[in-house]
């Protein structure tokens, strides 16, 4: 009956206002009732108390917070005294606004005010449902919001974990970053302990989302989820293969696991040294000197087509034997003979010759310090000149010597 009157009133309102005969008596919609029938007809006017879940579960001995709001649609703001009726004996129900207990609320036009009910349920509360009514009363408005609170059992703690990229491919040098999304699916905030089971010598670290700090545990609010990042660093000498890492998130008896996989492909790593480790040598101007280089593979995969090359000062000659190596297996070492011929016009002193081994996938260069020495031939010539001068003197002694 009330519903019919209300809808009639809403439909008639514009006409009546237009006629100026009914202006003094604005419509008085009851809370939560008018919307259904009048939704399409015209914009709603009035004040309501709203909550998402009018029937909720509370647990004995705990404090629950129930969110609701005072909604104003198209009418003048008004101070409404907010109170709760029907609280069972021993329960403590307070109306809170912005964290403080309040007694009245005022919603601006076409806006709302967020409010909470703080419900303290005694430990010995009997199971069953309790009905309470929230009232908001002002000079012209009087709204009620009936709610049902059921004493319920505790929801068990539950954690969900998922990842978008559970399998990553890389080399032993790369760092594997997995982003995991952890959701707290229980009713309370939980502190999650993070752990990872990885093969020996693998390093795992946890960071939060985009943060840089390493973490070992992480608090997550009820129902919320957070991103954590697991960084796995394999040892550099790891062989090619698939390596599983088990990420475990646990808190308050609940555990969730997620397996991520590292697909490590092998990588060759060239090394280039001299035979006795000494990266220096001597060479005479214009003459060929031989040095022995060692080309090795310190990596985990073979390297093919290793070609030798060298950069030496201009007019110098450099030759390698062999010039190229077909295949260098991991751990293998090959000897390469390099012949360096300094230019005829080279000046004595130290020079840098750079030798390079380049294969498919990796290359390595080594700087070689070559001390160029000049020939002693001109020294002999000098001694010859001095000898000639002495001969001239002796000749003079023989020719001009007096008795």
């Amino acid at each position: 009956m009330r519903r019919l009157i209300a809808s009639l009133a809403l439909i008639a309102a514009p006409i009546l206002i237009a006629n100026q005969t009914f202006a003094a008596d604005p419509p008085k919609p009851p809370a939560g009732a008018a919307a259904a029938t009048a939704a399409n007809a015209a914009p709603l006017h009035g004040m309501w108390l709203l909550t998402d879940y009018p029937s909720q579960t509370v647990r004995p001995g705990e404090v629950s917070t129930i969110r609701f709001k005072l909604q104003n649609a198209g009418i003048a703001p008004e101070s409404l005294a907010v109170s709760v009726d029907g609280a069972p004996a021993g329960w403590k129900i307070d109306v809170m606004g912005n964290g403080q207990p309040i007694a009245a609320a005022m919603a601006p036009t076409n806006d709302s005010v967020a409010l909470q009910l703080r419900v303290e349920v005694p430990k010995d509360a009997a199971p069953g449902s309790q009905n309470i009514v929230v009232h908001a009363k002002g000079a012209t408005q009087s709204i009620a919001l009936p709610m049902t609170l059921t004493i319920g059992k505790e929801v068990p703690a539950k954690i969900a974990i998922k990842t978008q990229l559970p399998s990553l491919i890389g080399t032993p040098k790369s760092s594997f970053d997995y982003t995991l999304s952890v959701t707290n699916e229980s009713g309370k905030e939980m502190t999650m302990a993070l752990a990872a089971q990885a093969p020996g010598n693998f390093q795992t670290t946890f960071t939060e989302g985009y943060g840089t700090n390493e973490i070992s545990s992480l608090p997550i609010e009820a129902g919320a989820s957070k991103d954590i990042k697991v960084k796995v660093r394999p040892p550099s000498d790891v062989k090619a293969g698939n390596y599983p890492v088990l990420v475990k998130v646990s808190g308050q008896g609940a555990t969730a696991e997620q397996k991520v996989t590292l697909q490590i492909s092998g990588q060759g790593q060239l090394s280039l040294t001299a035979k006795d480790g000494r990266l220096s040598g001597e060479a005479q101007v214009g003459k060929t000197s031989d040095y022995t280089l060692i080309v090795g593979n310190d990596g985990t995969a073979p390297i093919e087509n290793v070609e030798m090359s060298g950069s030496v000062p201009s007019d110098w000659k450099v030759e390698f034997a062999p010039k190229a190596i077909q295949n260098v297996a991991p751990g293998e070492k090959r000897e390469v003979k390099v012949s360096v011929t300094p230019s005829d016009k080279a000046i004595a002193g130290d020079y840098v010759a750079s030798f390079r081994a380049g294969g498919r996938g990796d290359s390595k260069s080594a700087d070689f310090r070559i001390t160029v020495t000049t020939s002693t031939l001109w020294g002999m010539v000098g001694i010859g000149i001095i000898a000639i001068a002495l001969l001239v003197l002796l000749g003079a002694v023989a020719r001009f010597g007096r008795r």
Binding site: A346, A348, G349, V352, V397, G401, R402, R403
Partner: protein
């Protein structure tokens, strides 16, 4: 007519007499004082500079000889380059003609001493005097370095510095031979001194300018190739090397600056790939300066031979 016995009989007494004459003479005192003052000033200044050096230097000791201190625009070796000829001329310009003028020459030669021995003995006596003076100066420099730098020199530094001493003695020998040649040629001591000093001034002041003028004269109007350019540069260096002072300073550069790789003209392409400031080993440095040292030694012998020939043909009776 064949002469009897060695031409060098009696060289010992002449040498000893000449040495003792030199070492006790007032002239030697004056010359030594001159050299020490001339050498001590750059050394004291360079030691002042070196005491403030903080960077590591493997050849710090050799820098005493080579660096140009800020207070005096002359290094120790350039001071010596200038002063050694003066010392040698001072010792040799009157060695023969003063004897002639004092009429003691015929008296000496009436003894069983050949002219060969007389001239060589006088030359070696002068050279020994020069060597004693230079050694004293060298030891003073080394001692001052020890005292003021507080670090001992390394073996290779001592070897290079000793090489410097040897080269300095040969350089003095060249000028001593020149001075003795003039003392043989001219009867008047004043004339021979003037000629020797004139030659010294010629080589130090005029010769660089004349050499430059000669190079300009030889150079083509337009240089068209790099070989031409290198040729001109090498001609300029060769002309400069006719002066004993150039040979001396180049030899010292190679010895006392181990970083010196070449003393001649060098194209930038020859320096490609070279490690800058890498010192040469001692034997390579010696090979590098050997032509210069050869030039000094051979020049000394040739000039002495000329003096010998002139002396042998001279009338010694007065």
């Amino acid at each position: 007519m064949q002469r009897e016995g060695s031409p060098f009989t009696g060289i010992g007494p002449v040498f000893m007499k000449e040495l003792s004459d030199h070492l006790t003479s007032i002239r030697m005192m004056v010359l030594t004082l001159f050299v020490i003052v001339f050498g001590a000033f750059p050394v004291a200044s360079s030691l002042q500079t070196l005491r403030t050096v903080v960077s590591a230097d493997a050849y710090l000791y050799l820098r005493i000889f080579t660096i140009e201190p800020q207070q005096v625009p002359i290094s120790f070796i350039s001071a010596l380059n200038f002063i050694i000829p003066l010392m040698a001329i001072g010792l040799g310009f009157d060695s023969v003609n003063s004897e002639f003028n004092r009429r003691t020459l015929s008296r000496v030669l009436s003894q069983p001493i050949y002219r060969d021995a007389l001239l060589l003995g006088k030359f070696l006596g002068g050279l020994m005097t020069l060597a004693v003076g230079l050694l004293a100066l060298w030891l003073i420099v080394f001692g001052a370095g020890l005292l003021l730098l507080g670090i001992p020199p390394r073996g290779v530094e001592v070897a290079r510095a000793f090489g410097f001493l040897v080269v300095a003695v040969f350089y003095g020998g060249v000028w001593l031979a020149i001075a003795m040649l003039f003392s043989v040629v001219f009867r008047s001591t004043a004339t021979s001194a003037l000629c020797a000093l004139g030659l010294w001034l010629f080589f130090f002041i005029l010769w660089p300018m004349i050499a430059n003028a000669l190079v300009l004269g030889f150079a083509p109007a337009e240089i068209t190739s790099i070989d031409q350019y290198v040729g001109i540069q090498e001609l300029a260096i060769a002309l400069q090397r006719l002066s004993p002072g150039t040979l001396f300073s180049e030899a010292l550069l190679g010895l006392l600056n181990p970083e010196t790789r070449t003393l001649g003209f060098m194209l930038p392409t020859q320096m490609r790939g070279a490690i800058p400031n890498a010192p040469l080993p001692l034997d390579q440095s010696l090979l590098l300066i050997w032509p210069q040292v050869t030039g000094l030694i051979a020049g000394m012998i040739v000039v002495f031979s000329a003096a010998y020939v002139v002396f042998q043909r001279e009338e010694v009776r007065a």
